[in-house]
Amino acid sequence: MSNDLNRRDVVKRAGAVGLGAGAVAKLGQVYAQDASPAAPAVDTSISGELNVAMVANPQMVALEELAGEFQAQYPNITLNLLVLPENEIRDRIRTDVSTQAGQFDVVTIGMFEAADYALQGWTIDVGTPLQEDPNYDYADIFPAMVSALSGEDGLLYAAPFYGESCMLYYRTDLFEAAGLTMPEQPTWTEIGEFAAQLHNPDGPYGIVLRALPGWGEFGAPLTATMNAFGGRWFDEDWNSQLASEASAAGITFYTDLLINSGQPGATTSGFTECQNLFNQGQAAMWMDATSAADLLGDPELNPQAANTGFANPPSEEIGSGWLWAWAFAIERESEHQEAALAFVKWATSKDYVQLVADRLGWGSVPSGVRSSTYADPGYQEYAAGFADLVLSIIDAQDPAQCCVDPTPYKGLQFVGVPEFVTLGDSVTRELADVIAGNTEIADAITRIDDMANQWAVENGYQ
């Protein structure tokens, strides 16, 4: 712990989690008690030039920060990192992988793409070599993550870097002032009532939720809510179910909730915008990815940290399901697969988690993937308010079982087929128009239902 100031700056600048000075010192002690991790047996003579495409989020920015460690371990590998915002990097990776141009050796992909890229033969099996390395402790990774990132052949095609489900964040002080209690397992109906009661048109708003068009932005909480109400996107024959009673109820609930008790201008709110509102004390509640917990728990970033409560994602018929991981895959066209594997192994190892904790603090650790992270006393102390809750939420997710009724697709907060991008984007755009006050919800539901059916026909599903 020679360089507290430096580390703190690094973390803060990474836009992630700045630790209070006291916390740093304490963590230092905790970590100092740990035995230093055994150096893994690595062949450090591997060489090559590695191009890695990464999403600009705090965890990856932290990795960029620590890339020097990797270079020190593998002096013959040259590491080039391309960091872009999520939308851009996704488009970029998709083009490169599907044209098999091989510009990137390692690409960051999500659960949405993993199985499909594997099916097309665009990425290679990383699970087998990772399993062979006892130091890697493959069994430590959450089974839900492994299964959601595996191909149809059961092999793992992308190694999870960090993972998340969703949860509910709320302001305990506002709840107290209004004489409300958050149940351990709230329902959406209850959330709606709370939001109406707590809503102040000038802020804090009753609830903030994403409504920025995009299947991965607005699409995720919307689908989770719709599924919770017993809805689904498609029935087993790929007939659109968006206009079914249950789906329509879920969709309408979400849009009504935002219109009546949500933030103004919600249609430009993605994850970041919602988080800013919560940090600024402008939100009484917020449902979003569990990865936000690490950020909200930090008093330097979130002035409301002391008053931030954590709860299970709301349920209705069933819970609001959500499972996501950013994972590293290796392009088949890569000319440096051996070096690429070394990088993937390094970045997703237990040792890397320790390295981040040591150098940048527990707030920057890629969480949600390994049991050992949650067992670590350091993390337990840092994330005392939510670690166990996050663990139990992630544990409860089953990507094959999104909905009350059976579906022909996998995926909890999305439809796990590659063409879904266009459908998810168009549907969320239509619904954003409802929230903006330009369309009636009933008309919009009819339209998105038509869209979904036409999409299914065009893409050969129906």
Binding site: G15, P58, R92, T95, T272, N276, Q280
Partner: protein, 283 residues
């Protein structure tokens, strides 16, 4: 009609405008300039002050954001942008000057169609060709290279350069050209010794526009480049749009760095630019 006619570069000189004119002009100027001021100011804030309400104009400036930018390596991006804009502009001028000269002064049959063809190459949305281009570049090993970007930037700026230059050449009085030809000047001498000096300001204005458009280009850069080897400045800014956490101050600082070179260049050369653009109107 001598080309060196006295031009009213300074505008009307002997008149006085009312004070209201001055005030109005200043207000308009400040309003239009304000977003730039705001971006620059925000770059000197901390992330927390960047989103305080009410927005703060007066605050204690911090260089935190710029230190971070320095740490994340601005220079390679800067160098790549300079190479890409200067190299593409040089090639544009080399290709456009003879073509514009010919179209203006030695027109071939169907010269109008040729000119329209050049402009029409700007009608296809870049998004429409990006995947075919990606595949072509993949096969030619041009992906993730500055050469690849330069090639496309030349194509991007060539039409407007030819079009502008043609109009400059066209305004050169025929009498001067005839005189030169009677003197027995060859084409090369005609162009180098007579035409280029006359259209100099126009050449500079054209080159400058080409530099602006290349420097600011984002779409091809983001889609054809994979690493810092060929990343240009607009890509550098993208690093700071993180999907989680606050980033306004840092992004603003990065924006300031990204826009500064061309903005300053523009400020310095605005007179030449206006003069160049008015070239064609000299009768």
């Amino acid at each position: 009609m001598p080309i060196a006619k006295r031009r009213s570069r300074g505008g009307p000189t002997r008149e006085r405008v009312p004070i209201a004119w001055t005030i109005f002009a200043w207000v308009i100027g400040l309003v239009f300039f304000f977003p730039v001021v705001l971006i620059v100011l925000t770059g000197f804030k901390t992330e927390a002050t960047a989103i305080t309400l009410p927005p703060r104009i007066f605050f204690e400036p911090t260089f935190e954001q710029y230190q971070e930018i320095g740490r994340r390596g601005f220079f390679p991006f800067f160098r790549n942008s300079i190479i890409a804009s200067l190299a593409s502009t040089a090639i544009v001028m080399i290709l456009a000057v003879p073509a514009a000269y010919a179209l203006a002064l030695r027109p071939m049959k169907k010269w109008k169609d040729v000119l329209f063809f050049f402009i029409s190459t700007k009608f296809l949305p870049p998004a429409g060709i990006i995947v075919p281009l990606y595949i072509i570049y993949r096969d030619l090993n041009l992906l993730n290279t500055l050469q690849g970007l330069v090639i496309i930037y030349v194509a991007m700026n060539l039409p407007i350069a030819i079009w502008m230059l043609r109009s400059f050449f066209e305004e050169v009085p025929q009498a001067i050209l005839d005189a030169a030809r009677i003197d027995g000047a060859g084409v090369v001498r005609e162009v180098v010794q007579i035409l280029l000096p006359m259209v100099g300001p126009g050449l500079a204005a054209t080159a400058f526009l080409s530099i602006i458009f290349a420097w600011n280009e984002f779409f091809f850069a983001v889609n054809l480049v994979a690493t810092e080897q060929a990343s240009t400045v607009p890509l550098f800014m993208q690093k700071f749009i993180t999907s989680e956490g606050l980033f306004w101050a840092q992004l603003s600082a990065a924006s300031t760095m990204a826009i500064a070179p061309v903005v300053i260049l523009g400020w310095i050369s605005q007179r030449q630019l206006v003069r160049g653009l008015s070239m064609g109107a000299v009768k």
